[in-house]
Symmetry: C2
Subunit: 167 residues, 2 copies
Amino acid sequence: MNRKRRKKGEGMGDEAAWLSERELRAWKNLLAVNSIIGRSVEQQLKDAAGLSHPQYEVLTRLGDAPGGELRMTELAGAALTSKSGLTYQVTQLEKAGLIRRSSCPSDDRGVVAVLTELGKERLRAAAPGHAALVRELFVDGLGEREFDSLAAGLEALLDRLRGRCSS
Amino acid sequence: MNRKRRKKGEGMGDEAAWLSERELRAWKNLLAVNSIIGRSVEQQLKDAAGLSHPQYEVLTRLGDAPGGELRMTELAGAALTSKSGLTYQVTQLEKAGLIRRSSCPSDDRGVVAVLTELGKERLRAAAPGHAALVRELFVDGLGEREFDSLAAGLEALLDRLRGRCSS
């Protein structure tokens, strides 16, 4: 895993674009963290609630919003998936009766997604198990300094990525 | 985004399982980082090389291995996807002529995946653009202290996750 990525002279072109050993290691660690955590979270939500992780995130965002509703454009801005991915997840949630879509009463800026009573129930049932797993995977077992370091690093990286997207 | 997750008395059950505001924020930052980076990397590899990110990772792992080959069980241990996901990606790579599968000459512990000449070429062509994007997303613009903090946090988290998996 920590082996030199590419032997010298192997003709890979622009050496300046390559990552240092340390940068590559951190990158691979990020990918591995995502993979391990992502699979555990998907599996738990599927087993416990019949939901994908993106579906669960849509439900929690609606659950956190006043009146349990958000415009689709607001959901898209916060979503974990691409726009087409979000449309698919919302359609699946609507078919399952967990949300419904309606036109926005206050303006004409588009469609609103609303959490149904069934959606609220499903979210309420799924949330404790999900939170316990997140705690187990992401919080427990890390020392306070380790967690602080991770939290600060993620905050800086996300600021940077969001600045890049909006520029 | 930083609003209180759940109002008190809303009957969410085991309060001890809930995450603190700070923990939840770090968790949401991890999800957002993954989402933004994941989509950018997928798009760039698809546009530039016709590869998915898991496919690219399989090719780089074979490219880093002696003789460009690994047993499927070795690939699975390092893979970003589930075992079934890996089988699918390897099949796609084989259909595209970028790898081939053969039985292992030195022992009978199973099938070996080997990078073909075409696979080596594709990897060589794709690698600089991918590395430049990783640098742009993950390294550039972060101060040294920020990067150190992130790297240390990810290292600690991955150690912890791997310990959990093997115990």
